[in-house]
Structure formats: C-alpha cells, structure tokens
C-alpha cells in the first residue's frame, strides 16, 4: 500500500491535557498530512510525549484529564477519539506506539511478538508465526535474529530491541504509527539505521515522530511542529525546517 501524499490523517482543536493541577498541553490546534514523516520538536518537558499519548488515549492510564477535540482518519473515515464511547482497545491496536526506551517483556524474542498478537487478534498459531516472520522482515530483524527466536529479547542490542518493539506493534496491523524519540537511547549508527527504516515505512503508514534534535527532523520530516511549554509555536515544512535549524543555531549561540 502506498499512501497518497498530502492526505490529512490528524486534526486537533484546542487540545488541553493536564496532570492534576499541572497543564502539559495548552490549547494545541494542528493538522497533519500522511505520506511522509511528521516530526514533533521542542525542548524536554514541552509536551511532545503527552501529545503522542493523547492520540492513543494512553494519558487516561495516568490519571490525566483531556479537553478539546482530536480526530484521526482511520478505516476510511474520521474518528473523534475523545468521544466517550470510543473503543479504547481497538484504538490502541490501530494506533501503534513505540516508546523512548525499548520496553520488551523479559521473555523470548518470539514471544514478545506472538503473545500480544495472539491475545489481540485471535489468529491461529500458524498465522501468528507467519505474521511474525513478516514484521521481522519489515523491521530488518529477520536476517539478524531469525535463527535465534527463542533467546531472550533482552539479550539483543539497543537498536535491535527498539526495532523489535516496532515489529511488535506492526504485528497488530496498525493504521497510524507514533514514535517517541525512537533513537534517543541508541548510539549514532543504530539511530541512523532506525531513521532509514522509518523513512522507508513512512510510505505505508502515517507517522508521527518525536525528536529532540532539529538535525534529525531535517533528515526525516516532511513537516514539523515545534512545541514550547505545551503550545505549538511553529509549523514547519520541508524547506523551513532547515531555516529554523539555522535560526536555532544562531539565536542559541547568541544567548
């Protein structure tokens, strides 16, 4: 499947999220298009992770309150995911998320993919294994780990673990992917490898990637949003990311 470019898949209006008294997102309104990676930039604590977690309602698990509206384009129509009757389980299967640090279960490589797949899909053993093969190929892991699927997932390198996390969520056949600083815990080379993979996969999935580095955003993104203190302060396209990066360098060094 190849996505048509410039087809919107995400729209938020006046999105406000708070944890107790603390406001993490303050009136965020934005729209994003599929067909290329959309990056979220901003300092640590500016609300990028919170924004991602709004899109699969994971903030609900942490006692946050959410106001405003969030619409995602899934199954060929717009879904208001903050509506009270939203099926959270279904939403979270369709909106896959990869975290800042790899979060595998302390079991074998195969089970890390097979157990959630079996629990959520109800597929048979054979189909599950076929799906596992497919997603390991997609994440370029099959070559590396295909012959030792029964070894513990935690014995893999950081980059491989992160790709296994990606494979685990691809196995559930999501329609939108969220990645929260996927390269933050990795060395340069492993990070580059993931970046290439993401660029490749952005052809088939609408994708939001949080990044702490404008340089990375320049390599990856078709468009970017800059967060600051819970607000979106810039919307950048391919051309203006570069300009913004330069300005950041200049004003950053002037301060």
């Amino acid at each position: 499947m190849v996505l048509k470019t410039k087809k919107p898949f995400l729209e938020t209006k006046d999105l406000t999220v708070g944890f107790g008294g603390q406001v993490a997102l303050d009136g965020v309104s934005l729209a994003a298009d599929a067909g290329g990676i959309v990056c979220l930039l901003g300092r640590s604590g500016s609300g990028k992770t919170t924004f991602l977690r709004t899109l699969n309602r994971l903030n609900d698990e942490m006692g946050a309150y959410t106001k405003g509206s969030v619409n995602l384009f899934m199954d060929g129509r717009w879904c208001d995911i903050l509506a009270p009757r939203t099926d959270l389980l279904n939403l979270r299967r369709k909106v896959g998320m990869v975290f800042q640090t790899p979060n595998l279960m302390p079991v074998s490589i195969a089970k890390n993919i097979l157990v959630p797949l079996r629990l959520t899909s109800g597929l048979g053993k054979k189909q599950c294994r076929a799906r596992m093969h497919k997603v390991l190929e997609q994440t370029q892991l099959w070559q590396e780990v295909g012959h030792r699927l029964d070894e513990p997932g935690l014995s893999l390198s950081g980059g491989q673990q992160q790709r296994l996390c990606l494979a685990r969520c691809l196995a559930l056949e999501p329609q939108i992917l969220l990645l929260d600083e996927p390269t933050a815990s990795l060395d340069f080379k492993a990070g580059r490898r993931i970046e290439e993979l993401l660029i490749h996969m952005a052809r088939s999935y609408p994708m939001l990637v949080v990044s702490h580095s404008p340089a990375q955003a320049e390599r990856l993104a078709q468009a970017a949003f800059v967060f600051e203190s819970g607000k979106v302060v810039h919307k950048l396209d391919k051309a203006s990311i570069h300009r913004h990066l330069l300005e950041e360098c200049i004003t950053g060094s002037a301060k």
Binding site: N56, L58, E61, M62, G63, L88, L89, N90, L91, R92, R93, M97, F99, Q100, T101, N103, M105, P106, V107, K111, V115, P116, L119, T120, R168, C169, L172
Partner: protein, 272 residues
C-alpha cells in the same frame, strides 16, 4: 555482619539438634512407613507436627494468596485518591495487629458460632488456617502493591499500548514483571505462618493430636511442639528433640521457599 549472625544462629541450632536427627526424631518407636501413612499413631516423634505445619501453612497461603494478590493489584492499578488511602489504612492496621489478638479473634468467632448456628463447632485446622491467612494477608498485599508500583512507567504501559484488556494486561504483563517482588512477600508470609504460635494456640493446636484428619479436626504443629518442649522439658534428651524440631522447621520453610521460587520462575518465563 548479618551473615555472621545468621551463620552463628544456624550453627548453634545445628550443634544442639544435629545429634538427634534421624528416623527416631520423627517417628519415635513406630515403624516409619506405617507412621507416614497414618496407620500407626506416633507418640514420641515430631512427624505429626511436621505434617500439621505443612498442611497449615499451605492452607493459610492458599487462602491468603488470591485475596492478597487481588487487593495488592487493586491498590496499585485501580484505586485512586481517598479509596486508596482508606484501603491502605486498613492494611496497615491489619499488619500491626499482634498475632495473639488474631488468635483471640478466631477463638471468639468459634464461641459465637457455638452459641448461634453451629453448636458442634470447635477449634480446628480450618479456623487456624483462616486466622493465619488474615495474619499474613498484609504481607502479600504490600509486597504485591510495591512490586507493581516499582515497574517503570514504560514497562507498565506495554499492555495498554498494545490494546490488551485490563485482565490480559494484569495476567500477561504486570504479574510476570512483578512476580519477583511478590515472591519476596510470599516468602515472608510463609515464614511468618510457619513460625506463628500465638494464633494456633487459641485456634486448634493440640499436643498429641496425631496426623491432621481433615480441616475440621485438631492438629499438631512444629512451633507449638518446640514451645512446649522448651517450656516443659523433663530431661536433656527432650530439649535436644526441641532443637531437632527447630532444624526440621527451618528445613521445611527452606523447601517451601525453594518451591515458591520455582513457581515464580515458571510464571516469569511463560508470559502466557
């Protein structure tokens, strides 16, 4: 430092009680196989007490585990705000209740039952098991709650982020990751149940009751035997039997710990 103290204690008990270890300690004059199967009563051995303690501890653990796990998970995963504070207060209160009070509670309950619904009720293995279960419940609740709350946030979000239901998340993600910490609590609880004398004293232990015949009958228990022998020994050899019983109690709890660890490893490894 701790190691020295522990080794010293173990060494002392082994030195005092090691000599009497042997079939005679367990079965007295009775033939071993007949005694184990309960065909021949054992008069001056500690075998009935061993069996009594084993059954009692397993019964108490079996009663306390489901409630303790459930309550701990509720506190860690679901409860919020004032409900959580209230439940925590109750658990703390329970944890600080002395065991003799728990025994008295069981005794009072039997008195009440005798006067109202069940005139034939008597102190028994089941009653002691229930009271011991209440005694060890807070250990398991606290251990479960702490172990679950100690899971790092991103590890805790694995289940929800993949769209697992609450139940799937608990069984397949939370419990395997918390099992090590829960095991710690279970070991504490089992040790506590195995050594407690005050509760069983008031709820059904009887010297020379023989092997436990069912959950509604009297029973013997190792800590009671030790207490009884230490308090009322008539000669040196009886005291030595007391120390022998100490050693056996230690071995019994140790083997319970090993089996608990084995079960935990199974749970951790399967994630199924």
């Amino acid at each position: 430092m701790t190691t020295t103290v522990v080794c010293g204690l173990l060494g002392f008990i082994a030195w005092q009680g090691g000599a009497v270890l042997g079939p005679a300690l367990f079965f007295g004059d009775a033939p071993a196989w007949a005694a184990i199967s309960g065909q021949v009563p054992v008069w001056d051995g500690i075998w009935p007490a061993c069996a009594g303690t084993l059954v009692l501890v397993l019964l108490a653990a079996a009663l306390a585990l489901p409630f303790g796990l459930g309550c701990g998970l509720y506190l860690a995963v679901l409860a919020k705000g004032r409900k959580k504070a209230f439940c925590s207060l109750c658990i703390n209160q329970l944890a600080s209740t002395p065991s003799i009070v728990m025994g008295l509670f069981g005794f009072a309950m039997i008195l009440f039952l005798r006067r109202t619904f069940l005139p034939g009720a008597n102190t028994c293995l089941l009653l002691a098991g229930v009271c011991l279960a209440v005694l060890i419940l807070p250990y398991i609740v606290r251990a479960t709650q702490n172990a679950v709350e100690a899971i790092p946030l991103t590890q805790r979000l694995i289940g929800p982020s993949l769209g697992l239901t609450l139940w799937q998340n608990i069984v397949h993600c939370i419990l395997p990751q918390a099992s090590r910490g829960i095991l710690g609590g279970v070991i504490l609880a089992v040790g506590r149940a195995a050594e407690d004398t005050a509760v069983i004293l008031l709820t059904g232990v009887v010297a020379n009751a023989g092997l436990p015949r069912g959950v509604l009958g009297p029973f013997e228990a190792l800590p009671f035997t030790i207490y009884y022998l230490a308090a009322e020994y008539r000669n040196q050899s009886e005291l030595e039997i007391g120390f022998g019983a100490c050693l056996v109690l230690l071995a019994l709890t140790a083997s319970l710990f090993v089996s608990a660890r084995w079960i935990q490893r199974k749970i951790e490894n399967t994630w199924s």
